[in-house]
Symmetry: C2
């Protein structure tokens, strides 16, 4: 039993929907299909979700919304026309798009979520009907009926643990079930969306709920590349990745799957594969609980920008019980999340993401370090990037760090920081952002070149 999720670009046009149908039909184990809203057909196109955001903005401003409604309804209608069938659901879809403009604006925390969710919801209706028309009995299931009951956090819904029992009942269905991704329903019957990457989250939840043998996530690439294709030309795609590796890569900028989406599948111990709708014969990237065999020590190299380092030093710092704790307390009181805290003897740095800081917060941190903790020196360094070399088998390969540092040193990359050891899955380097590209190329060459 497989849960198969398709992203927006896999659902953008009739020819794409044709591919999706063929994929689902090819394997009778594909019983649950989770869909995104239609994506862009070409670079100049608008995503349905973005059109819904425009529609929402006009509605709350009191502007005329007819054009917005028509554009969205036409978008679905064009798909149906292209597919060459008469969709009974088109009437319902049109009505549902129009009905959004009847929802209360005042005291409605879920209005924005309701607009946004319509993209996925209506796409699921249309796709279910299309599958049936093509001879593959399929049924649209609203998240409420599917049992996807979530917390009341607009834009950041979390699945309630009690939902899973209800979701498991979906196993009993005879038809292929088509479930819209991206949102659930609160106990009070409100539409509430997940955070970014929300359709992946729905897929992950359904896979865990129905105890699927596999969660297939179809995108428009041949799996996860071993390095960012914007920097490395034609990187290879990773064959097999563990959840831990995936998470380390996602942390450092790999964006194929939003890492929160992995949690339900991970907890449910469901293996995952990332495949390409446009190249379904490619094996893609398997995401597994444990490697099936000896793989390379390094599976991928990720890089992420916009890091900052708060550096401080104080003579005899390491004699002070509680010094590190007090530093972290200052940050916590300012609601700042830190990433790493490398320590020397009299030195301590806090590495964090740029978005956690504001000029006022920076000033406040420096002030408190000087007055409360009486540091000798404190400064904030911007413009840093992290590079992570990831691989579960690394721990048994002592030479990985040696290979990496030699490659970086040959290219004269200055390392602001190295951290290896806490995680057995990765080695992390901090470099100045202007040196990131050079560093990434050197590392890719060192670990993956023939």
């Amino acid at each position: 039993m497989k849960v198969t999720k398709f992203g927006g670009s896999s659902l953008a046009s009739a020819s794409q929907l044709e591919k999706v149908f063929n994929i689902v039909q090819a394997d009778p184990e594909r019983r649950f299909v989770v869909v995104s809203a239609p994506g862009k057909r070409d670079a100049a196109d608008t995503k349905v979700t973005d059109a819904l955001i425009q529609y929402y903005k006009r509605y709350i401003k009191g502007d005329d919304v007819t054009a917005s409604q028509d554009w969205i309804i036409d978008r679905y209608q064009a798909m149906v026309d292209e597919l060459g069938f008469t969709a009974k659901s088109m009437k319902k879809i049109a009505q549902s798009i129009k009905d959004l403009a009847t929802l209360p604006i005042e005291n409605n925390d879920f209005l924005y979520d309701s607009f946004l969710a319509a993209g996925e919801d209506n796409n699921a209706k249309l796709i279910a009907e299309y599958f049936t028309y093509r001879g593959l009995p399929a049924r649209y299931v609203h998240p409420k009926k599917a049992g996807i009951i979530v917390s009341s956090e607009p834009g950041n819904a979390r699945i309630l643990p009690s939902s899973y029992d209800k979701i498991e009942e979906l196993r009993e269905a005879d038809e292929v079930l088509v479930i819209p991704g991206f949102f659930g329903v609160t106990i009070d019957n409100q539409i509430c969306t997940f955070s970014r990457g929300g359709s992946d989250i729905t897929g992950s939840i359904v896979a865990a709920g129905v105890k699927a043998d596999l969660y297939e996530n179809f995108t428009d690439v041949d799996g996860i590349f071993a390095a960012h294709p914007g920097i490395i030309k034609n990187p290879h795609s990773i064959k097999e990745l563990t959840y831990r590796e995936m998470r380390e890569l996602a942390y450092a900028g790999f964006s194929v799957l939003h890492d929160e989406a992995l949690l339900p599948a991970y907890r449910g111990r469901i293996p995952l594969v990332i495949k390409n709708t446009n190249n379904p014969d490619h094996p893609g990237t398997q995401i597994v609980l444990e490697h099936s065999s000896e793989t390379l020590p390094v599976v991928g190299i990720a890089a992420d920008d916009d890091f900052v380092s708060i550096n401080m030093s104080k003579y005899l710092m390491n004699r002070e019980v509680g010094f590190g704790r007090k530093v972290l307390q200052i940050l916590e009181d300012l609601n700042i999340r830190f990433e790493h805290m490398p320590t020397g003897i009299d030195d301590l740095s806090i590495v964090l993401r740029e978005r956690e800081l504001t000029p006022i917060k920076e000033e406040e941190i420096l002030r408190q370090l000087k007055t409360k903790l009486e540091v000798d020196k404190a400064e904030i360094e911007h413009g840093l990037s992290i590079i992570m070399i990831v691989g579960e088998n690394m721990k048994s390969h002592v030479g990985v760090t040696a290979t990496a540092t030699a490659a970086l040193s040959q290219q004269n990359v200055n390392l602001a920081m190295i951290s290896q050891g806490a995680s057995e899955v990765s080695v992390m380097f901090v470099v100045k952002t202007e040196e990131k590209e050079k560093a990434l190329k050197a590392l890719y060459q060192a670990f993956f070149a023939e």
Copy 2:
């Protein structure tokens, strides 16, 4: 104006005192001499300080102390006899040794300190008289008269900042001043000793107080070795070391100077030299505020045992604001000092010294990590050593870590952890203790071999 401190082995016998006299006489800038108690003349000998500890123990038990008193008095007398002069101070010295056994035992927090300090104190009296006898006018100055006023913490005295003004007045003296190391006097007139390495502390305080141009610390080695001679055969001695480098090396097991002794001289910006009484022409090791010229990137490699790592992992750990702070709070509540906290994404380790833990504390830490912080996994790893590669110029040498990791990898040393970056002065490696020797040899070879 120089402050010159001699350690116990430099003051153990007449022939050693002769060397000390020649050293002081050779340079008219040597105006302040700080002395330890007489050390061992040979391996079978007893240090005067150890004899004083025996004397103290007998005294508080109510045992007969005559033999103890006689042994100590004879020790000084033998020195005088060997030196071939009649010391008027011997009578005072003998009396002062005997007077210790008249001090109150009950409600006397400073009794042990008073016994211990007698070794240095009487040595200073004798040495001042000997210098004068040899034609170099010298005067014994008791710490109270010198203005070395300290906090009331027996065995762990700290200089009161107000002392320095009084100490500065010593500059006015015409004679060479001989000051006993290791202790000061409290505001309530009690003898109170510094912690380990206490004579070095006195020298450092006097140097800062009189604003010396140089603090000379005479030992029995040609300065500080670049690596431990117990592991590396005939290591070279370091020519020039900054205070920061010195402190990093001291932290990781170099024991030539107790690092707390550096603080007053460091704060006073007094340069320091470590020299050999038995080889005074050797330039020794200069400890400076800043390197005088381009030195090697690495000045020394230190290693220290008895480290422990508390390793924990928790899925989505890095999303939790305050996780690291809470871990450190658990330790702080148990009064445990940590050294390093390397972090991965879902992993965090705490590296600390073995002496901070007990089996009960370990159990409590693991219990709290599991119950309070709900970690997925927590374990404590014993038997670790740290190795530190130290050098201020390292930051401009990107290849240092590459060289080090390559050397370690060639010897198949498994790195439990690497930390570089917080301190610009060092790179730290954590290895299993059984691999330490192999690692240290490989690193010494890589950085210092011709």
